[in-house]
Amino acid sequence: MKLPTFPGGIHPLDNKATTATKALVNCSLPNELIVPMLQHIGAPAACCVTVGQQVAKGEQIGTAVGPVSVPIHAPTSGEVIAIEPRLHPVGRPLPAVVIRPDGDERWHKGLQGYDPDSLNPDELRQLLQQAGIVGLGGATFPTHIKLSPPPDRRIDTLIINGVECEPYLTGDHRLMLEEGSKIVDGILILRQILGVNQVILAIENNKPDAIDAMRKLCLKTPIEVQPLPVKYPQGAEKQLIEAITGRQVPSGKLPMDCGAVVQNVGTAAAVSTAVRQGRPLIERITTVTGTGVRNPQNLRAVIGTPLSHLIEQCGGFSDDPGKIILGGPMMGNSQISLEVPVIRGTSGLLVLRHQDVSIKKPGPCIRCGQCVKVCPIHLQPTVIALCARLGLIERADSYNALDCIECGCCTYQCPATLPLVQSIREIKGAIMEHKRKH
């Protein structure tokens, strides 16, 4: 049977074998945790502790500001030793609470678990917001917002994203193998909140063990496990919706506008923990991998752990690191320092050796059309990038630059090694500014 998919996309080497077979390892506590107030899309949380204050594990240290925001919690018990801007994964210092752990792992008193059946959807949503649940696939969009469609939108499909199409990353894969039942529980809670019948768990078929495991766990539930062919960016929200339902999210709109909601498997597991145990999102699974790491593995690390500690846990660098990437190699950010902490969106830490970094200078576009062929949005990346280089804002807009999802397929494929995505990102900023002005 032919598996459903979307047009376009690429097939990079997945490099997952090194970590996919290794069991999850709990990362030890570092001497100092750096917890930024911005770990989600939306308004940063407002700090509500003072320097010198003792905090308990799971205690709120930042409160949500406005509806599109979530609180931040202390990842462990200890003392607040500083509240100051620290280097954030985005590349510049942002406000953060620095905590020195006391090693007691003392949980906050007020945390309390519930039976989801005893709660109505609104209470559940509020619970999720208070627990700081955000999309753990990397986008970190607050989950309660995604689960609150306006009354005029009818949601008929809940898609659970276990695709993990980024090369190198295997965190979701391990999670499905080791904590599948928690994921299933979380999915059922999400289904209850949305009130939908159709629930589809999508997994790329390069993870046959995960497909088998999840199929077994989903036997008695309404969840349908759907294998998908291996292709990047299958896990991107819009592409996943197209592959599963055949529908397209209207340009400039949200997935709920075509009746679908997508949630990551990691998010589902976090939802289960938040509801059943009342525990907020204070840890996540991060794949520490790449040629530059001596002993690559999947770590369960608390939020705020500095990257240097993760590297230490994995046996240190194997050689001079050339590039340190937070996230996957296709959409992750390269970092200038190991003092950056793990945050809710940190799905992986990829270290490339100096000799692995391609430093080829970009050449002229030879109009080969590869970028057009692989673009999952059917844009003409080379034309937009050319407009960007020449500052032709209106022309770039007419080529729908704003619809670009920055998946990186075009740049991966470009024989001239042009930084197409970077150009498009630049012109997108310029177009938005232009539209604000006029």
Partner: protein
């Protein structure tokens, strides 16, 4: 952490297929045709090949120096243009003509527009057409292929298309050579440019390129398809006056044009639909010019004309983007 880290925008990995690799593959695909040309036409063919290739590379290096840019001959595109140009010239071309062609191809055809990637017309074809119009005698004196001879005492001969054209002009009837015995054309026993002789090796080279995903099937299939349809219609109307589609496919520069000139990425459309339109246009114009035009061979003119139309094709064949069913196509501003 002694050395400074690299920072770049995502993505951080690359497919490894680069421009110079693509150019190298195209050159590999042309090697069989080059070998056949040298075997059939002997040393004169080799001479033309060398002059064109070296001439193109030298001209590009010179232009880069004059324009104070980094010398770009390393990407292999100049050498490729040189080989393609040589394959478009008769084996008996004098050295100065080959050299002039190389200069025209690189300077007027390519560097003047800013170098690789910016030329609107295929440089080798520009040079060929300029030479054809400027030196009609030298450009249309053909020698008969004589496998494994040195080629200095070659007999002059006419190309199948030329023979057909003059016969039809004189008698209104097809000559016998245009109605039967196509197998020798397929293997390459006919007069013509270096790259016109053997449809077989060119076909193999083209299939290699498609297999290696350097080119897509769109242009070759639509080009060949439209030639078959167009030539077929005329052939069915009057088989004594118009030759069969097979004759069209095997003679002249069609195979070279289909797989190596029309598929030139720089000068052909970037969308799949655009490529189909481009290929069809090439095929129709080729047959029209061959059957009714003043020149016996129309492939180069057809491709150049479609090159000229490429920006417009690109403009009006933009794909419907994801999530936009009512996209206003073609509007630039």
């Amino acid at each position: 952490m002694d050395k400074a880290l690299y920072i770049s925008s995502s993505p951080h990995i690359h497919s490894g297929v680069t421009t110079d690799k693509i150019m190298r593959l195209v050159i590999y695909a042309l090697l069989p045709a080059v070998a056949v040309a040298v075997i059939f036409f002997g040393l004169p063919a080799l001479k033309v090949l060398l002059i064109c290739t070296l001439g193109c590379v030298a001209c590009e290096a010179l232009c880069c120096k004059l324009m104070k840019q980094p010398v770009s001959i390393g990407d292999g595109s100049a050498a490729l243009t040189g080989i393609l140009l040589a394959l478009n010239l008769p084996p008996s071309s004098p050295w100065w003509m080959a050299l002039l062609g190389a200069a025209i191809a690189i300077i007027i055809g390519k560097m003047i527009f800013g170098g690789l990637g910016y030329n609107p017309f295929n440089p080798a074809l520009v040079a060929r057409v300029v030479l054809l119009i400027s030196f009609p005698i030298q450009m249309t004196s053909w020698t008969a292929p004589a496998p494994l001879s040195m080629g200095f005492d070659a007999l002059s001969s006419a190309t199948p298309l030329g023979e057909m054209k003059s016969a039809v002009m004189l008698t209104g009837q097809l000559p016998e050579m245009a109605t039967s015995g196509f197998d020798r054309y397929f293997y390459g026993l006919m007069a013509g440019s270096l790259g016109e002789v053997s449809a077989l090796v060119l076909l193999l080279g083209g299939l290699f390129l498609i297999f290696k995903r350097v080119i897509t099937w769109h242009i070759p299939v639509s080009f060949i398809g439209s030639v078959i349809v167009m030539a077929g219609i005329f052939w069915l109307i009057d088989p004594t006056r118009y030759p069969s589609p097979l004759f069209h496919l095997l003679t002249g520069g069609l195979m070279l044009g289909v797989f190596f000139m029309a598929t030139d990425m720089v000068t052909s459309p970037i969308t799949a639909r655009g490529m189909l339109i481009f290929g069809c246009g090439c095929g129709l114009l080729t047959v029209l010019i061959r059957l009714f035009g003043g020149y016996p061979e129309g492939v180069s003119f057809a491709i150049l004309l479609m090159n000229a139309a490429t920006p417009l094709i690109d403009r009006y064949t933009r794909a419907e983007i994801y999530g936009d069913h009512h996209h206003d196509r073609g509007g630039l501003q």
